[in-house]
């Protein structure tokens, strides 16, 4: 008992170290790309980079909240795929029904996750794994096992493909989501409750926090953001894609972890999650450019191996940093 009481807890600065690390790595990669490739800093590359990766940034944001509570959401990829199909079916009725339909589909899936986890006390890992399978199944059922074309007449494709003030609309959406997410986590009481619950659910409950409601909200939010990512997916590629989204949850988890959020919960940052997502996406982008140079030709499989190795290096470095600051 005494040992647990006097155990030094995670110091204030360890997360900051990791965050600094991820920013340095991101700057390093951008510098590397800018020096090595001709069109790396071109408007085209930057805009398409942001357009494409906004989807991943959105699910990483939802994942960050989930992981801060000490949970996990494996269903985001499947939910995004399902939402993309729903959005595609609704797109002929206008851009708004498409957008709202996809988001509601995501919200429903996330809410079911939240209910199962809080009411039935099922482990998030299991509950969201089941949801992943169910969401993919629903997506394939709805889409009859093929992609569903969206309507090009109702402005639905604007969401994913067009710009506003010279900046891709998905980028605006993600930026807005991150600003709101940051304010919520840092400045809103409920956001602080998310952190406190991750620090210890039993404790939070005894302090009078509404643990179940908060957890429910976090999973619902993650589902909602996955739904939004699905809408962008359908809009950007012109079709609802029941088989897309595989491995998205891992990308999101990796972004959050690279951003210095502890998988054990109780600490984490919205800004660093964005940096983490951008860093991982940047590795992808650079590999594409490397292929384009023609020196080497990396298949998608090799790219996956390299990204995995990169992630491992970052996580190991981070763990070491944490240990050092803890000692």
């Amino acid at each position: 008992m005494l040992k647990t009481l006097s155990r030094p807890f995670i110091p204030k600065s360890s997360g900051d170290f990791a965050r600094l690390g991820v920013l340095l790595a991101l700057a390093g990669l951008i510098l590397f790309g800018a020096l090595r490739y001709d069109n790396f800093i071109s408007p085209f590359n930057i805009l398409s980079f942001l357009r494409y990766n906004s989807m991943f940034a959105l699910i990483a944001l939802g994942m960050a909240f989930v992981i801060i509570t000490g949970g996990i959401d494996l269903s985001v990829g499947g939910v995004a795929a399902m939402a993309s199909v729903v959005a595609a079916y609704l797109s002929p009725y206008g851009w708004f029904p498409g957008l709202a339909g996809g988001m509601i589909a995501g919200l429903i899936a996330g809410s079911i996750n939240g209910l199962i986890i809080t009411r039935m006390r099922i482990q998030p890992f299991i509950a969201t794994l089941a949801m992943m399978l169910a969401a993919y199944g629903t997506a394939l059922l709805l889409a009859n096992n093929q992609s569903v074309s969206v309507s090009y007449d109702t402005g639905f494709t604007t969401i994913g493909q067009d710009d506003f003030l010279g900046f891709p609309i998905p980028g605006w959406i993600a930026a807005l989501a991150y600003v709101l997410g940051w304010i919520f986590l840092e400045r809103h009481p409920a956001g602080r409750h998310v952190l406190a619950i991750g620090d210890g659910e039993a404790t939070a409950n005894l302090m009078g926090l509404k643990v179940e409601k908060t957890l429910f909200g976090v999973y619902a939010l993650s589902g909602l953001l996955a739904g939004l990512a699905g809408v962008i997916l359908a809009s950007q590629f012109g079709a609802g894609q029941p088989t897309e989204g595989v491995g998205w949850e891992l990308f999101a988890i990796a972004s959050v972890v690279v951003g210095g959020t502890l998988l054990t919960g109780g600490s984490g940052s919205v800004g660093a999650t964005l940096a983490g997502a951008l860093l991982l996406a940047m590795v992808f982008n650079i590999l594409n450019f490397e292929n384009g140079l023609g020196w080497i030709s990396l298949s998608a499989y090799w790219q996956s191996v390299i990204r995995g190795a990169f992630l491992l290096v970052v996580v190991v470095l981070q763990a070491r940093l944490m240990k050092k600051t803890e000692a």
Partner: protein, 498 residues
């Protein structure tokens, strides 16, 4: 009365935890709540705070009939609880911890961080605590965290502060600070429910006492009218059926060679200065109230906790174990207090549970020698009289007494010289208790040295050859067989010189 709980009863899946318990506290009063492990203190508290719901009974708080659905609801009414493990969020700042769930907000509904910081610093100052309120709570010592928790209670405008063993991890100076804080609360008309075991502390700070035993409140009294002996007697009570004194050989104990000699052992704040000896072929009892350092002493001998001062000798040779494996290799076995937590593996068979500690020696060409395993298991099932359908029956299907026998056999089959057994008969019915004690007696007669930790007086009186009494981490008395009596034990435990 600020609080009046009457006839509170509660059962968990049919097992009664509280039977018509009652508790009354007046404003500005410090009430002690005492009782052994499992007496029902925490259940009573949890019912009051809304963590559990009562089956029957009434609770009046500030003359209002209340039934709190959640801890949040009782907090809102002015009941704050400071738990033993100090429930604060370690990675959140001091200011946040003080205000969590009641944060000051700006007009926009966002956190008013300036008000939070200023308020936190101001309330901590009233307790003479000047710390950086932006630092995570996990950075501070247990005593400081406790003050933060109390500060949290004060900002909640608590009328009643429940403190669950608040001094268990504090040193003497910190206890003084805590008591000053409690007196400040008192002056402001706040009532304190103080759950504790250290009698001196209770007599120093508390006005009245409520004593619990077996889910009932057995005594209410002003502290001044309750002599220590009387208090301890109420707490420990008497086992319904007395054990028949287990027949012992009457040879001269002091002539037997000393097998285990612990001298002046200390580790942390729980064990300060403990000396205890166990001779060959005897049962040496270790007694003391909850929190006196009994279990912790066993952990030191067994190499779980580090010996910080003093010495441990086995057969005259000094020993210092880095880990339990060393102690086991040296012929020491430990049957722990809580079978469910660190004893049995419920789904595994009797056979596997029994031979767990022996597995390394049971290998033949790298795999378990089933024939020998079977032979050993059969032998001990018979020797100890384990009642089971077959050795392959899952251990969870056995009764408490039979589970305890299997655990005992686990250590016996490693052929130990010293067996430490913590609360050997906890949760076992009376008949089986006597049987277990007789078994220990027989083992001792065959030469085994047994160190028996027990909080049951009858058990110590019936089975032990000598009893060492601990109080507050120190051994305060050694009673030989001819000195053993209920009165002698009680007065030693109450730490009274008579």
């Amino acid at each position: 009365m600020l609080l009046s709980m009457q006839d509170i009863s509660k059962a968990f899946s049919g097992v009664s935890a509280l039977r018509s318990a009652s508790l009354e506290i007046a404003a500005g009063e410090v009430m002690a709540l005492v009782g052994q492990n499992g007496a029902g203190k925490s259940t009573l508290i949890k019912i009051l705070t809304g963590a559990y719901q009562r089956d029957s009974g009434t609770i009046l708080f500030e003359d209002e009939d209340v039934a709190f659905a959640t801890p949040g609801a009782s907090q809102a009414k002015g009941i704050a609880t400071i738990y033993q493990e100090i429930n604060l969020a370690p990675q959140r700042s001091v200011a946040e911890n003080i205000y969590l769930s009641r944060e000051p907000k700006t007009a926009l509904g966002l956190l008013d961080r300036r008000a939070m910081r200023a308020g936190a610093a101001a309330v901590l100052k009233t307790f003479n605590l000047d710390i950086d309120v932006d630092m995570p709570v996990g950075h501070f010592s247990a005593a400081t965290r406790q003050m933060i928790a109390i500060a949290r209670a004060v900002t909640q405008k608590a009328r009643l502060v429940i403190m669950d063993e608040p001094t268990s991890s504090l040193d003497e100076r910190e206890v003084d600070i805590l008591f000053q804080t409690i007196r400040t609360l008192k002056r402001n008309g706040v009532a304190v429910l103080f759950i504790g075991h250290r009698l001196d502390e209770l007599y120093e700070i508390c006005d009245r006492v409520t004593i619990m035993r077996d889910g009932q409140t057995v005594a209410h009294s002003a502290m001044a009218d309750m002599p220590k002996m009387e208090l301890v007697r109420h707490m420990l009570g008497k086992e319904l059926a007395a054990f028949q004194a287990i027949a012992r050989d009457t040879g001269d104990d002091e002539a037997k060679p000393v097998r285990l000699a612990v001298e002046g052992a200390g580790s942390g704040v729980r064990v300060r200065d403990v000396s205890v000896t166990v001779r060959e072929g005897e049962i040496s009892g270790l007694a003391g109230l909850l929190g006196s350092g009994r279990t912790e002493t066993a952990r030191i001998i067994f190499g779980v906790d580090k010996l910080e001062k003093g010495s441990i000798r086995i057969d005259g040779k000094e020993r210092r174990y880095g880990e339990p494996a060393d102690a086991i290799a040296d012929g020491i076995g430990l049957v722990s207090e809580d079978r469910k937590i660190d004893g049995i593996i419920p789904d595994m068979s009797i056979r596997e549970n029994m031979t767990l500690a022996l597995l390394p020696k049971l290998k033949k060409a790298g795999i378990v020698d089933r024939a020998r395993q079977q032979e050993i298991v059969t032998r001990y099932i018979k020797a100890l009289g384990v009642k089971c359908a077959s050795p392959d029956q899952p251990i969870k299907e056995l009764s408490g007494g039979n589970q305890q026998k299997v655990l005992l056999a686990r250590w016996l089959c490693t052929d130990p010289r010293i067996l430490i057994i913590d609360e050997p008969t906890r949760g076992i019915d009376i008949g089986a208790k006597a049987e277990i004690l007789k078994l220990l007696r027989n083992l001792a007669d065959e030469g085994l040295s047994v160190l028996m930790i027990s909080s049951e007086l009858e058990e110590l009186l019936a089975a032990a050859d000598r009893v060492t009494v601990l109080s507050d981490g120190r051994s305060v008395a050694v009673l030989k067989r001819n000195e053993l009596s209920e009165t002698a034990l009680l007065s030693a435990m109450a730490h009274q010189v008579n």
